[in-house]
């Protein structure tokens, strides 16, 4: 099974936008609470398989979704 990556976003609105973009492109993903070791704040993140990451990031770039690239 490929390795999973967790993407953390700058705001809840960005998570929602990101989720919609992934759904439109049929990219499998899982919405999870941001792991405590990454951020102590209450937030949501998206987990997806590593090979799908670059396509997802391209979509985010185009749609203006703000994610925490410093945590990737």
């Amino acid at each position: 099974m490929p390795q999973a990556v967790v993407i953390v976003f700058k705001s809840t609105h960005d998570v929602i936008k990101a989720k919609n973009e992934l759904a439109k492109a049929c990219i499998a993903h899982e919405l999870i609470p941001t792991p405590k070791e990454i951020s102590a704040e209450c937030g949501m993140s998206l987990r997806l398989e590593e090979p799908l990451l670059s396509k997802a990031l391209d979509l985010f770039q185009t749609a203006g979704v703000r994610y925490r690239d410093d945590l990737l």
Partner: protein, 197 residues
């Protein structure tokens, strides 16, 4: 042998008639049903009430033979505290496919919530989905994988049959089993801690 004709009756009537026959002391009797949902609900009733149930096709429906098993009250009394200690006594009632009023935010909250449940320290023993909640157990739900994980971990997932029927989702149920209000009331009044979402 007593025959209970429950054909054409709406839930929970077939289960109530079965329960009445058991309460009246019938050791072996037949129940006639003409729909899958009452058949499965009567099976569940039997599983939880020390009865066996055999089914046979009958005139477009089913003939269910219900037999009361001989129990040993003394053993059950001894086993009960063990059961209670080892099993969770938490039941979740999920009546919506979102948490709170805001649609957009509410949907990601419920998704995150259910995706986190499999890793919870104290998992519920039972999760019942009612009303719009049944959108979470049926085709197209974003949390099917997590619900399947919960089932693997021993959590019972039940969806309200009336609600599935209302939304035209009966054939699209992907995880867990169909339940009725009789079962739901039993679960809610059985002494569990109830968490409603």
């Amino acid at each position: 042998m007593k025959i209970v004709d429950a054909r054409g009756l709406a839930c929970p009537e077939p289960v109530l008639l079965t329960k009445k026959a058991v309460d009246d002391g019938e050791k072996e009797f037949v129940v006639l049903v003409d729909d899958e949902i009452p058949k499965e609900n009567i099976r569940k009733f039997c599983d939880g009430n020390n009865c066996s149930m055999d089914e046979a096709p009958d005139a477009g429906g089913w003939k269910l033979t219900v037999r009361q098993k001989e129990g040993c009250a003394a053993c059950e009394e001894l086993l009960e505290p063990v059961k209670r200690e080892s099993n969770s006594r938490i039941t979740f009632i999920i009546t919506c496919n979102k948490i709170g009023i805001n649609d957009e935010l509410g949907k990601i909250l419920i998704e995150g919530f259910i995706n986190t449940l499999p890793s919870a320290t104290n998992k519920p023993r039972l999760v019942i989905f009612l009303n719009e909640g049944v959108h979470l157990t049926t085709e197209g739900s974003p949390v099917l994988q997590s619900l399947a994980k919960l089932v693997e971990l021993g959590v019972e997932i039940r969806s309200c049959g009336t609600c599935l029927d209302y939304y035209g989702l009966k054939e699209k149920l992907k995880v867990g089993i169909i339940t009725n209000m009789y079962d739901t009331v039993e679960a809610m009044t059985g002494g569990d801690v109830i968490v409603k979402i």
